[in-house]
């Protein structure tokens, strides 16, 4: 297959715009205790949160950068140059008309309110540090479902929020979870009461508008016994000359018999360091499923995990990563089996285009004296150009005689014969390539809601343009 200039900018155009915004709140650059006092003060937070943040800052400063296994590119993040909190206002608007014009225009260009009207049960739109708009359909709200920003969740529903906040992902889990815990702002808080099945997805949309900015949203979803919810998040940022940091923490709690499906379609511009910690806790007969699609960013490090704490709990990670020129998608999954008869499934597909690098890093752990635990992992990588790169680093630990794990990974390229065959039937080489790549991820894309699978196919088409020839 011949090398070619990839035209990765094309797909960025949809998100590559920004407006000049007069920010009412700005914590300035750099991170000290003063930054935390500023954020806590602006938000009017209780003392326990302020202390939580300060303790997290200590942990962040103490922890070394993970360089013994992680990409050296992390060393290029200059924490002192980042603005940790930027907002226009504190309270999210309930009506679209009240949203400031430049913010409204941003989300309208991205098609967010339109999607809400079409099929969503609720939507929250975060602009830099705070939710700009948050609404839930009346019918869903009446069922007792809470869907608000994390700041609001903390204030209005402390009895549920505090019980689970920071419990799935402890502050010191890693350097970036500590950073998020110190300066978090925005993100979603969702509570689904027992037995309630939210029929349509809830959606959040995260938008970085400002330069030299760090977005640190914090999401906590609790699905009470027997409930079901699907949450979808989308992310974009315009392209700046300087690097931008996105470091979220997402905690999911699926109580007995509950099901949470968390879908991410991330399309960051190629200056974004996307360093995210995501983990779910699944109690007895509960299920946590991560569907994760990573396109764009300069470096993504994200390994969604599930701790299967209750008997017969189930964890699943389905992921697609597309690494374009100069990008590194370091993604994977963690499955921690902590009860009998728990099962987990990981399916990961990656595509490396141009000088793009896709890495799968996995962890499966079955401790001793558990019985009937099963894990299946499949990783497939597709290389498009001769200078593309892919790596696979799974780590599987199994103890005891009652469990079974299997891992399989393969690396291949688009078959020249297949491309030739399609060209014979009138497709251009690029069309043939897109079709092949879409075929490669098709069985996973089918698991996405219709709107997302259409968008994904289109994004892949755009990414593949110019990758051949």
């Amino acid at each position: 297959m011949s090398d070619a200039q990839t035209q990765l900018e094309i797909d960025r155009e949809k998100g590559n715009f920004r407006y000049d915004v007069d920010y009412e709140f700005d914590a300035g650059t750099g991170l000290t205790e003063k930054t935390i006092d500023y954020i806590s003060g602006v938000k009017g937070e209780p003392d326990w949160i302020r202390e939580f943040r300060k303790d997290a800052l200590k942990k962040f400063l103490e922890k070394p950068m993970p360089t013994h296994w992680a990409s050296k590119d992390l060393e290029n993040i200059i924490f002192d140059n980042i603005r940790y909190y930027l907002a226009q206002g504190q309270k999210p608007k309930r009506s679209w008309d009240e949203v400031p014009d430049e913010v409204k225009k941003t989300f309208e260009r991205l098609g967010i309110p339109e999607q809400e009207r079409k099929f969503l049960a609720g939507v929250e739109a975060q602009f830099d540090s705070e939710a700009a708009y948050s609404n839930i359909k009346e019918a869903v709200g009446k069922q007792g479902v809470i869907f608000v920003g994390s700041t609001e969740g903390l204030k209005e529903h402390p009895e549920i929020f505090r019980k689970w906040f920071g419990k799935v992902i402890p502050t010191g889990d890693n350097k970036f979870s500590a950073l998020n815990s110190a300066v978090f702002s925005g993100g979603s808080f969702i509570y689904v009461p027992p037995g309630v099945k939210v029929s349509h997805p809830l959606q959040a949309y995260f938008r970085i508008n400002a330069e030299n900015f760090g977005q640190f949203e914090r999401t906590l979803i609790i699905a009470d016994e027997g409930s079901e919810v699907t949450y979808m998040e989308g992310c974009t940022a315009p392209k700046f000359d300087t690097a931008t940091l996105h470091s979220a923490v997402v905690e999911l709690v699926a109580l007995k018999g509950a099901k949470i499906q968390y879908i991410t379609v991330q399309n960051w511009s190629n200056n974004v360091f996307n360093l995210v910690t995501k983990r779910g806790l699944a109690m007895e007969d509960a299920e946590v499923k991560w569907i994760d699609c990573n396109i764009g960013s300069r470096l993504t490090m994200k390994y969604p995990g599930v701790v299967m704490k209750g008997r017969r709990a189930r964890g699943e990670v389905i992921s697609i990563a597309l690494a374009g020129d100069g990008q590194h998608q370091d993604t994977g999954a963690k499955m921690i089996h902590a009860a009998d008869e728990t099962t987990s499934n990981i399916v990961s597909k990656s595509i490396s285009v141009g000088t793009g690098r896709a890495t799968y890093r996995g962890l499966v752990n079955v401790p001793r004296h558990l019985k009937g635990c099963k894990n299946n992992t499949e990783c497939d990588a597709l290389l498009i150009n001769s200078n593309s790169r892919t790596d696979t680093y799974p780590a599987i630990t199994v103890r005891g005689t009652g469990n079974a794990c299997q891992h399989e990974a393969s690396v291949s390229q688009v078959s020249e014969e297949q491309i030739f065959y399609m060209q014979q039937r009138g497709l251009t080489e690029a069309q043939a390539m897109s079709l092949s790549v879409n075929g490669f991820v098709n069985d996973l894309v089918r698991q996405f809601p219709m709107e997302y699978s259409v968008e994904l196919k289109r994004l892949i088409d755009l990414e593949m343009e110019g990758s051949v020839g």
Partner: protein, 438 residues
């Protein structure tokens, strides 16, 4: 120039590099550098990715000594029962040569060289200097490779000349004897163009004492040549052992390397195989039984430097008692190494609740037109299969042993020499019987 160095029997391992023997100047200088490197290089730490899941606490070297000569050399030679027939046979004990059966006259006449490394360091200085530890130890044990280089290396140099086919295996025994003895076995094989040979290294303990082993083998398989190498490790239950293997495979050449681990307390196997020309093939195989509190820690690297080469790795572990295994392997395809066909598989069969299998198969691919796959499985003996055998009158423990041997046979069947295969199978079967009943 030959330099004689002072004997150091009984000197603690951590105190110096010089040992007895007659070694040329270049070797003594290399040994001194090895000692300096050993002191300079940091000890592995638990957080080191190359030591993930391993037990770095097992690496304390205090107390181990360069040992005195074995007490009864002839008894050990007598106990060195292996294949029955071999092309040459060397027996070492506590770093010293105990017995040597040279190859038959016609093979010597044809150019086959099998001699101690010490003798070869002078007589075949060019070849030994060129290939002795030429590959850097990249898989985590550089410090221990340096220790080996500085230590009283004992072992064999084999040169199979161009076009010569050596039918019978060359057999080497390394014994360790005495409490806290440290031995440094080394095998250097150069198979020249279109030659063919089989080499079997047998590593054994003369008693139950704790020992330290730091072994290296360098295998060089030149264009069109074929080498089969089998290392059978049966160290005592108190032994800490390093076995660092390096293989270089040339154009249209092939190397089958098999590691059989049946003993030891902490055993670290590092196998680095580099395909340096088109058409090269490397088969990397291993059979391991980890029981009681044994840890078998294996790191492998299939390095594809050139296009159109093949590598195939199959490691199989059976774990009983509190046995632990670690497998960490990487298939690396360097930029431009197109048409690479590489495979890697580790299979674990866990036979007790306290056993632990860690698998880290890995891929690093920088060329697009390749076929690279890997897999890892961990499971236990299938109850239905056990039931089936028991229903036919086979006792449960025998049935279990049969099933695990069946599991191992997929690896052992890759040995085409039936005598060698039968010999290894007997050793594995015997060890398995003990492990399953412990």
């Amino acid at each position: 120039m030959i330099m004689a160095t002072a004997p150091v029997s009984g000197v603690p391992l951590m105190e110096g590099a010089l040992v007895e023997g007659n070694w040329p100047e270049w070797f003594v200088a290399s040994r001194q550098r090895g000692w300096e490197d050993f002191q300079r290089l940091p000890a592995p730490a638990a957080k080191d990715e190359k030591w993930r899941f391993s037990n770095v606490k097992a690496l304390a070297l205090d107390g181990f000594r360069y040992p005195a000569a074995v007490t009864d050399a002839s008894a050990l030679v007598e106990r060195s029962v292996g294949l029955g027939e071999s092309a040459a046979r060397f027996v070492f004990g506590n770093n010293r040569l105990l017995s040597a059966t040279a190859p038959a006259a016609d093979l010597v006449k044809a150019g086959l060289v099998v001699m101690t490394l010490e003798e070869a360091a002078t007589k075949h200085a060019d070849l030994v200097q060129k290939h002795f530890m030429a590959q850097e130890a990249k898989l985590g044990s550089a410090k221990y490779a340096a220790l080996h280089r500085s230590g009283p290396v004992s072992g064999v140099f084999i040169r199979v000349p161009k076009d010569l086919i050596v039918e019978k295996p060359i057999e080497i025994f390394h014994w360790v004897e005495g409490e806290n003895s440290a031995v440094f076995p080394h095998t250097l094989v150069v198979c020249e163009r279109h030659s063919k040979a089989t080499v079997v290294d047998c590593f054994r303990s003369a008693d139950d004492a704790a020992a330290f082993v730091c072994g290296v083998n360098d295998l060089v398989v030149e264009d069109g040549a074929k080498l089969n190498y089998v290392g059978v490790q049966q160290w005592s239950a108190g032994t800490t052992a390093f076995h660092l293997n390096s293989t270089t495979v040339g154009r249209d050449a092939s190397c089958l390397g098999m590691q059989v681990n049946l003993g030891g307390k902490f055993v670290r196997n590092e196998s680095y195989s580099r395909m340096v020309a088109e058409g090269a093939r490397s088969d990397m195989l291993s059979v391991n039984i980890a029981s009681n509190e044994q840890m078998i820690d294996q790191r492998t690297f299939q390095d594809h430097a050139k296009p159109n080469a093949t590598s195939d790795l199959l490691y199989q572990n059976a774990l009983t008692g509190k046995g632990r295994t670690v497998f960490s392997g990487v298939i690396r395809v360097e930029p431009g190494a197109h048409k690479t066909d590489a495979y890697q598989k580790v299979r674990n069969i866990v036979l007790s609740d306290d056993a632990e299998a860690n698998s880290m198969p890995g891929l690093e691919i920088e060329a697009d037109d390749v076929r690279c796959t890997h897999g890892a499985t961990t499971a236990q003996v299938d109850d239905r299969e056990l039931f089936y055998l028991q229903a036919r009158g086979i006792r449960p423990e025998t049935a279990r042993q049969l099933l695990v041997m069946g599991f191992f046979n997929t690896v052992l069947d890759r040995l085409s020499d039936t005598t060698l295969r039968g010999h290894i199978e007997t050793l594995v079967d015997k060890r398995l019987a003990t492990a399953l009943r412990s």
